[in-house]
């Protein structure tokens, strides 16, 4: 004798089937009727909120499992992250001394205050969120997904964020840039009242002051032609950078040219790290002036000295940290479709790790004025 009689089993199955059809139909009718409110002003029910948060947290945790986070972060990295945070993140998330914009605060969900929220996440999870963004929340993905090195800069800064007060934050994010208070008329009649939200100088320095983070290139005295081409490549997405692309695309072609000419006219702020390792500098000098014909590496200085074409950057007095990072990115396979990339990419990819360090140490130690005499 079976546990359930046959007619009863059929009845149960029929009941479940009809029930499912009724649910699907009912759901469709409910969506079709427009009775559900998508208003951000209404918020979620507590239960909905709990389920959504539960799903989001677990999704981030699972997807971040394979990511290896660095043990420590350099000050260069967190300073770069702070500068971009000020431009790209603070509008929604706020920062010490920078209130969240009320418009951003009225989003659903409202962007969290990160000085407390970052404690809930591991480094790799923060990396994943910054790189990929979060669906349905308004958190955007990183503009250039190739540039993991930039995403780590943000993570490095986020780790420091809870310890910063308003003064320390301003110092870090504005890179020592002092902003002249605007007079009432200026505030009333100009668009830009953001406190140098997107000023180049926060990262790259200005006048006699070089970049605060050594991961940021020195632009002082670079040829204007090279700077304009770089800004155009960033703006068009031909060069990948989640930091530079938003800034460059916000400038008009005329503005790009003016700011390029401004930096081109500045004197170098001075070699930042002179002769840290004399042996490395010497090896770098050999490679930069003679190349390594056996490894098919041409001499760097034929294109990167003061007498070269103005589409090429000058490397004397450039930060070693920046040069190393740029060359490593090529080796890691970061691609670009700029006009000079087909020339430099194969060279960068044929350098080994030691050659990268040596040549960066050499260029950081050379002075721009001396290299002009050598030509």
């Amino acid at each position: 004798m079976p546990l359930v009689s046959r007619p009863r089993l059929i009845r149960t199955i029929r009941f479940i089937l009809y029930g499912l059809i009724a649910i699907v139909l009912g759901g469709f009718l409910f969506a079709w009727s427009g009775l559900y409110s998508v208003a951000a002003s209404r918020g979620h029910f507590a239960l909905t909120n709990a389920i959504l948060t539960f799903g989001m947290r677990n999704s981030v945790r699972t997807h971040a499992l394979g990511i290896g986070a660095p043990q420590t972060y350099s000050d260069d990295l967190s300073a770069l992250g702070a500068a971009h945070f000020h431009d790209g993140c603070a509008y929604c998330h706020g920062a010490p001394g920078v209130p969240t914009d009320p418009i951003a605060q009225s989003m659903l969900p409202s962007p969290p205050d990160l000085s407390t929220a970052v404690r809930d996440w591991r480094d790799r999870e923060l990396f994943w969120i910054v790189k990929h963004g979060i669906k349905y929340t308004g958190m955007p993905a990183w503009v250039a997904t190739q540039r993991d090195d930039e995403v780590w800069a943000i993570v490095a800064f986020l780790r420091r964020l809870p310890t910063l007060d308003a003064a320390a934050y301003r110092e870090l994010a504005l890179g020592g840039l002092s902003i002249r208070p605007q007079i009432g008329r200026e505030i009333a009649t100009t668009e830009d009242t953001s406190g140098a939200m997107s000023a180049c100088a926060r990262c790259h320095g200005a006048d006699g002051r070089g970049p605060k983070s050594h991961l940021v290139p020195v632009l002082h005295g670079q040829p204007a032609e090279f700077l304009i081409a770089a800004l155009e490549d960033f703006a068009a997405g031909r060069r990948a950078s989640g930091i530079m692309q938003p800034v460059a695309s916000g400038l008009s072609p005329a503005e790009r040219e003016r700011v390029a000419r401004y930096y081109a006219g500045l004197a170098r702020p001075g070699a930042p790290n002179r002769l840290e390792n004399a042996a490395a500098v010497e090896r770098g000098r050999e490679l930069a002036t003679r190349g390594d014909p056996n490894a098919k590496i041409p001499a760097c200085r034929d294109c990167h000295s003061a007498s070269a074409l103005n589409v090429y950057p000058r490397l004397s007095e450039q930060h070693a940290t920046y040069i190393v990072n740029r060359l490593r990115n090529w080796r890691k396979g970061v691609t670009s479709s700029s006009a000079t990339d087909p020339i430099m990419a194969p060279i960068a990819r044929s350098l080994n790790e030691q050659q990268i360090d040596d040549v960066a140490a050499y260029f950081a130690s050379t002075s721009a004025s001396a290299s002009k005499e050598n030509k």
């Binding site: 190349g291 014909p293 001499a299 034929d302 070269a308 006009a339 087909p342 020339i343 194969p346």
Partner: protein
Amino acid sequence: MIRARPFRYLLGVSMLLGGCTSDVQSVMNPSSLQAVQIAEVAWFLFGFGTFVLVLVILTFLLAIRGSLRVRQAVARESTVIWLGIAFPAVTLTVLLVYGVWVTRSHLNLTDGGSTVSIEVVGEQWWWRVMYYAPAGPQIASANEIRIPVGSPVTLKLKAADVIHSFWVPSLGGKVDMIPGRTTQLQLTVNRPGVYRGQCAEYCGGPHALMAMDVIAMSSSDYAAWLERAATAPATPETDIGLHGRSIFLAAGCGACHTVRGTAAAGSVGPDLTHIGARRSVGIDTLPLTRENLMRFIVDGQHVKPGNLMPEFRILQPQQLEALAFYLLSLKAAD
């Protein structure tokens, strides 16, 4: 499918015959002492092989169709011993001695009989050519080997990266170029002319486009050419030439290429000191004209896909024209 076969045979035969029409790159057109020897041995072996083939077929036919007496004779043990063991042993020994004797000059390479010694280095994907002059500067060129007619020339063959193989069919046998070793090839060319050679060992990407010309000249012409080649090209006199030279230096061409007499001293790519006197651009892919030169500089990856020279699309049209003008002017004054 079966009906397609005659067409296939025809195609095959026409392709084989196609090889006979060009005589700049053909073993059928031996033009050096060594190639003549190789051809002589080849024809002799071919003829003898034909004789043996006919002999075998005849014996085969006799063994099937012959009268009983003939068949018995073929099946006899002494026939097998004479025709099957003694005949091959004797003829193969004679042929071996004959072959070695005819080509004996190929074996004896260490003697000092050569008057001219040229180094050829196989690189991905071009030929670096270096002339050892007793005095004066070392003369480097690319993809073109000039040699005198009538006297033995020793080619020292090297490889810079992977194995290449040096083969100029009209002038001699194939010789591999092996990284870390120097192999040698001796040539005594009979008559002046241009002979084409090809890399004969797959060496990656554009291997099929890695070709060269060997230009054989009379001894007096060769001596005169060598003297001209040793001079540095004159400084440009026109504005466009000077502009071209400044572009050459400022664009970083000198990081890979040498032009003697200027700051350009790179050795990654071909020496361009006398490129204006060469016959081709882009490693024998295009004839040397102004248009082809400009095309190779900005669009080289389409001309010779995979070659190691980056495309210089950064150059403005007038910069490119000046550069091409300057490069074409790089030759010794006649």
